[in-house]
């Protein structure tokens, strides 16, 4: 087999797995957009906040330590214990649910029926607010996140591919895990939306508010539920990206990578977020591999957006989005 082709295969595999990571972030957007028509700009910051909280709890950091020390003149930073990963994740989930309650009670409940652009502006405000809160609570240094996921090259794949192609593929264990977890998460979310009472209520609210009210669905409850789910998805994305490259401010910018994924997959489709993420992941990896060297590289910064633009021209609703039909 020609060497170039083997390299291309490795690049494709890695691209697929990066794509899954993009999908994870995009999924959070889709959940909220479907149920409430809100494009949640804060999704990326939510991932940052969730990851920061997780690390903070794990390390036994004192939240708001800076303020506490400033006001009380003390010098405490740690509780002096370490929380096991699983318990810390559960506690972080509770924090994200608390965040969902807060957001619904103090912001979006008062904005029901407003124009989408106003709701969007509110989420921009929310993003910066949450960023500030995250800084205040846990500080802004880069943190190492380790929840016990295996990292580094997967030896089995390395050996097997070496025997077949005479060249061992470099596949990171973390990426494999991320793929598996994302698959389980997505399958779970789809089954949940399809077959459970709350899932059905979520879909009903996404479709028609008035009709949902008339069959006894509380909009408020469903929105809290949806923000909680988005918070949990943000946490998962935060864990994956955080384990990969450390928990730091740039984590909140992965939200921008989710945008082209959404344009491609459609804002209203969970499977769309997955396929969109995969296409972008593979597309940008292959483009960088094949064309990158000719034009000086770093195509990963812009390729996704150009691809999304091309899709926008031919399919404005995205691959899986609901058709936009306007009767005249």
């Amino acid at each position: 087999m020609p060497e170039q082709l083997v390299f291309a295969m490795e690049v494709t595999l890695n691209g697929l797995m990066t794509g899954v990571m993009y999908s994870l972030v995009a999924l959070g957007f889709v959940l909220i957009f479907k149920a409430s028509g809100i494009f949640n700009y804060a999704q990326g910051v939510m991932a940052l906040f969730a990851a920061m909280t997780l690390v903070g709890i794990q390390d036994g950091r004192v939240p708001f330590a800076h303020i506490i020390n400033e006001v009380l003149g003390t010098d405490i930073h740690y509780f002096g214990w370490e929380v096991p990963a699983l318990l810390a994740i559960l506690l972080t989930v509770l924090v994200m649910i608390g965040f969902a309650l807060f957001v619904q009670k103090f912001i979006f409940r008062h904005l029901v029926g407003q124009e989408p652009i106003i709701l969007f502006m509110a989420t921009i405000g929310l993003a910066y607010f949450l960023e500030g809160v995250s800084d205040l609570m846990w500080g802004s240094e880069i943190r190492n996140l380790d929840v016990g996921l295996p990292q580094g090259i997967n030896d089995t794949i390395d050996q097997v591919t070496f025997e077949i192609f005479g060249y061992g593929f470099f596949i990171d264990n973390l990426d494999l895990w991320a793929t598996g977890i994302a698959a389980v998460l997505v399958a779970g979310l789809i089954a949940y939306a399809q077959y459970t009472k709350n899932g059905r209520a979520m879909r009903a609210v996404a479709d028609d508010h008035q009709a949902a009210l008339s069959v006894g669905i509380s909009l408020n409850y469903v929105w809290i539920l949806v923000w909680s789910l988005a918070g949990i998805v943000a946490l998962v994305a935060g864990i994956m990206w955080g384990s990969k490259s450390g928990v730091q401010f740039s984590l909140s910018l992965i939200a921008l990578k989710a945008l082209p994924v959404l344009m491609l997959g459609g804002f209203t489709s969970i499977p769309g977020a997955i396929v969109g993420g995969l296409i972008i992941g593979v597309g940008e990896a292959l483009f960088e591999f094949s064309i990158g060297p000719l034009i000086g590289g770093a195509t990963e910064n812009w390729f996704a957006y150009v691809l999304a633009l091309v899709f926008l021209v031919f399919r404005p609703q995205g691959l899986f989005g609901e058709k936009i039909i306007e009767r005249v």
Partner: protein, 273 residues
């Protein structure tokens, strides 16, 4: 006509009409300076078909929206099952067993007919969050039971052949029937129908009338409906409230109402002197 709220009687065609289940007392509803409903009182008895009629803009839909909690009157009281009902959100009213349809149809267009109808069963599900998430025990049993009720209603309304069709693709008349089905599976104690025959052709109207009568007959469901097609209403209902310009101008059996001079004036447009 009965004066005693708890007394019951049997109609000419053998249906049993029970005591008062819902009572509107001196309801007044204003939108800014516009008075939509002016001091109206009437009651709804268990098992009857109660109609609210009147010309366009008479305040019929506003009245239905008061009953279903979409509007809250400035004055007056709503009594339900012998107790005064506090101001409630529409979803709370629905959970009390009052189901409704809408004049301009409010269905979930993206979902199939069956899924739409299943949303009507949401209040009959009580499985815990965890049961639902893991899809075991109570959640599974409930789903099976709810599915059975839904299928019964689907059979009853003769929409088996469109069960899996997305609602958005259906013609108008069928959408109305799906909306009725969704309200019915909730097993409501009162079913509110907002202009169930609006925009239908003669054949569809006949079908719908038959279904309304059958629902009432078969399940004993109390029905309150709004309509402005006089002919249809008179054939269907046990008692009729007539509204005009937000005021009640008649209340009684179809025959009584038909012979009420004020009602005749309102419908024929005779000038008052």
């Amino acid at each position: 006509m009965l004066d005693n709220a708890s007394e019951s009687y049997v109609t000419a065609d053998g249906r049993k009409i029970g005591g008062v289940v819902m009572e509107m007392r001196n309801i007044t509803l204003r939108f800014g300076g516009v008075v939509a409903i002016k001091d109206i009182s009437f009651d709804i008895r268990e098992g009857e078909i109660r109609a609210i009629i009147g010309p366009n803009g008479a305040g019929k839909s506003s009245m239905l929206n008061v009953i279903s909690g979409f509007y809250h009157p400035q004055e007056g009281e709503v009594w339900y099952r012998g107790a005064r009902r506090p101001a409630m959100k529409p979803f709370q009213v629905a959970r009390q067993g009052i189901a409704r349809t809408f004049q301009n149809i409010a269905l979930f267009d993206g979902m199939s007919v069956l899924d739409n109808i299943m949303t009507g069963r949401l209040n009959h599900m009580s499985a815990s969050f965890l049961d639902q998430a893991l899809w075991w025990g109570k959640a599974q049993r409930e789903e099976v039971k709810n599915r059975r009720v839904a299928e019964e209603v689907i059979d009853f309304l003769e929409i088996q052949n469109i069960r899996k069709t997305p609602v958005g693709r259906l013609p108008y008349g069928l959408k109305k029937r799906v909306e009725l089905a969704r309200a019915l599976v909730a097993e409501p104690s009162i079913l509110l129908l907002d202009e169930p025959m609006a925009g239908m052709n003669v054949e569809e109207k006949e079908d719908m009338s038959r279904f309304i009568l059958d629902v009432n007959d078969e399940f004993g469901t109390t029905i309150a409906l709004i309509e402005h097609d006089m002919g249809v209403v008179m054939d269907l209902s046990d008692r009729v409230v007539v509204m005009d310009y937000g005021k009640k101008i008649g209340d009684g059996t179809p025959d009584e109402v038909r012979n009420n001079p004020q009602v005749i004036d309102a419908y024929l447009g005779v000038a008052h002197d």
